[in-house]
Subunit: 460 residues, 2 copies
């Protein structure tokens, strides 16, 4: 090989590369600067010299130099030639290979439906219709509240299925309820609220969002009638799960529903009704949303995360008039709007009755799973079973939550102790929160058998 300037520096130059000689030269020079083969401050040969070295046109080299000057790799000063830019070489990040733990074979933690039951074919058919019929403007920036097609479909669905009093203009589609809480916290802050009352048992990720917003939290004790709303006090709002307390499972007692609404009317406070699994009630007709009692005091929050899939990240707020503008402003700042294609697809899914069908099917399936859970654990006290996708299992006296979770792990089960959901740990008798909706159908039998083994006190 002829020793040339380029060869000396190990400039790999593939003249047949796609993009042509100039692109290859640029890439080779860039790479050489990046890796330090061309040191900071180094004077490059004149373009004429390098062109002759490489057997390419002089303009090709000059253009490549010019491009790399524009990008900041090289510097050119009139009369003093082209040099490698004088800067500290970028540190190559040592990326640790993902050393994540192997997932458990069976996941019985609550919070997710059986995602294997996502109606892929029906969803695709709706996506096809949505893409075929959407106006062009649906692909542009639009109303921060979301697509009008979906808001209209939701208004009808929510009135019919959950008794919600909703008009499309009062609905804000958001990217999951986690976002919804964040938007509501910001809206409450703009109204001067400093504190949000929350149930003493709930989703820790929701508490994280509230805490990050700057609102203080006031935990409300939870008993067999749901949260004790008598302790809301001077909070600016209260976040409740009235249909099926998460995770303990009670329905909010009638007197407390009324009391919460009256508190809101008297104080100007806001009730946030997190209706995360209101569609899945087994033992009687679903309790209609409390929002209908007082639409100007109660925010209704629904989600597709339990009815369809968390991965969709679709939820909706039905808002009192006074909260609409602040929530829309917060939504605009959060992400301008939720992605429109899934919204249009869900609108199709609802209006074509596919959504109702999916919920009916899943309700039946989850109810059967619940019944099988009860049958598989005859000696265990199981509560919160009238609705939803999870139940609370009391642990034997000699088994702590941590020990049960560890025992589960040794059986290939992912389990969650009730403490994971408590605002303050250790305030209750040990229990597990079991998400019987989570495993796919084919795994449920095995998951139950292992859970029974974990909870069988005499075996250990």
């Amino acid at each position: 090989m002829v020793t040339t300037w380029a060869n000396e520096r190990d400039l790999h130059l593939d003249l047949a590369a796609p993009g042509g000689v100039r692109a290859a030269l640029e890439a080779a020079l860039r790479d050489a600067v990046r890796t330090g083969r061309l040191a900071p401050g180094l004077l490059l040969p004149p373009s004429r010299t390098l062109a002759a070295d490489l057997g390419v046109a002089r303009n090709t080299v000059a253009d490549a130099y010019g491009q790399l000057v524009a990008e900041g790799w090289l510097v050119a000063r009139q009369g003093s030639g082209t040099r490698v830019a004088d800067r500290a070489p970028a540190v190559e990040a040592a990326v640790a290979p993902g050393a994540e733990a192997a997932p458990p074979r069976y996941d019985l933690r609550p919070g997710s439906p059986d995602v294997a039951a996502f109606p892929r074919t029906a969803w695709l058919a709706c996506a096809r219709r949505a893409l075929a019929t959407a106006p062009s403007e649906a692909f542009g920036y639009g109303d921060p509240r979301g697509r009008p097609e979906l808001r209209a479909a939701l208004a009808g669905y929510l009135a019919r299925a959950r008794g919600v009093r909703a008009t499309p203009d009062r609905i804000v589609v958001c990217s999951g309820f986690v976002q919804g809480i964040g938007l509501l916290c910001q809206a409450l802050l703009t109204r001067g609220a400093r504190t949000l009352a929350t149930e003493a048992y709930g989703v820790s990720a929701h508490r994280d969002v509230v805490a990050a917003s700057g609102l203080a939290m006031r935990p409300l004790p939870v008993d067999a009638g749901g949260a004790d709303v008598g302790l809301v006090g001077d909070a600016g709002g209260v976040l409740l799960t009235p249909a099926h307390q998460f995770p303990l499972g009670a329905a909010l007692a009638p007197a407390r529903r009324t009391a919460a609404v009256e508190w809101a009317a008297d104080t100007g406070g806001v009730v946030i009704e997190d209706d995360y699994d209101g569609e899945f009630r087994y033992d009687r007709q679903p309790v209609a949303a409390m929002q209908a009692l007082a639409p100007e005091q109660v925010v209704y929050a629904g989600t597709a995360s339990k009815s369809l899939a968390p991965g969709l990240r679709l939820a909706w707020l039905v808002l009192p008039g006074a909260l609409l503008d602040p929530v829309v402003d917060a939504k605009r700042r959060a992400d301008a709007q939720t992605g429109t294609l899934d919204q249009l697809t869900l609108a199709e899914f609802i209006t074509s009755a596919g959504y109702d069908r999916q919920i009916r099917r899943r309700r039946l399936a989850y109810r059967r799973r619940r019944d099988r859970l009860l049958a598989a654990l005859p000696g265990v006290r199981v509560t919160g079973i009238a609705a939803g996708l999870h139940a609370v299992l009391s642990l034997p006296r000699d088994l702590t939550e941590a020990a049960a979770v560890a025992r589960g792990a040794s059986h290939g089960l992912a389990l969650d102790g009730l403490d994971n959901y408590a605002a303050a740990p250790g305030q209750h008798a040990p229990a597990l929160v079991v998400g019987y909706g989570t495993p796919p159908d084919h795994a449920y039998t095995s998951a139950l058998a292992r859970l029974a083994a974990v909870l069988a006190p005499t075996r250990y």
Copy 2:
């Protein structure tokens, strides 16, 4: 009609309604309480009486009462019968019918590509493949950074097309760049930053997000070499549009690229490279991303909003190691993750080369539009034309921005003055920022003709 208790109160009871008698009775009672036909405190007839009135089974009435007690509409006290709950009737919101102004016929405001060119058929084909091949867990809660399929596809694409040094683990998919800015502001705040330097001309919605985060803003003057990064000072970060300043159109000068990176390395500050339209460069090869100069100092931010459609709400951040965890934490709190179906579809679109094809086609189309804009306005000074989907048009001396916008409106054109993009108004000679990418193809000729009429000084 026989006068009964129910008839007196105008309880419309459709016994043949879907859901059956009990559901119809519940709905009628609920509606009557809601509208005040049954007043707060009113004692309802015993279930036996009402059942006889209506000719239905007593249990049906008792069950309906029970349900409405559970929902809070009625209250039942042992021995004193069932009454309407004693609460203020909910105020029915008077919803003003949408009195929105008719949209202009032609929109020449910047910020959106031609959404009529969204590749619906190709996108649907990718969605079909994505839905057919996605693992079930893609429908569940997942990595806040986004789907691994998309992050892998983006790492390859960004290296190839924009010279970005990206590994999938350093990429966070977000719901549009508006969200990305918000996440970055939160991450900067956790690192102790108090100020973000921003270009004195930019997107006002981005400034709103920064302001809402609590970071102070330090505007950097913009000239023909882009933003004057020498004035960043003690800010914790600087937000730049290096490839094509928005909206003025300059490329960030090589010396300023180097200076910004050196500032970041010296101070521990962060450069945010908003590469919103980096794919659309017409006059020479695209300037590679400055992120490659210093991946540990520069956040690269890209988006599908210009290359595909804003309505998708898909963008991506390539992060320095030090920012990864705080941004992921912020993303988790913002919305847990971005919706997965569009992510999987975009991954398919990129890996099947559809994305590159779409960009090549659109680049050609937008370049032609730019050339036609220049040809249609021979007497007008047009700048910022080397790239992107917009240009800056200097106005004649006798025409203010407001007057030009008003004149445009009278011609059915939506126009934007440069002032709309300025951190402080009135600091520049009057100009329009014209988004030539926005109108659909069939409307572009008319839009241009009207624009020429608006700008023709002798006509008015």
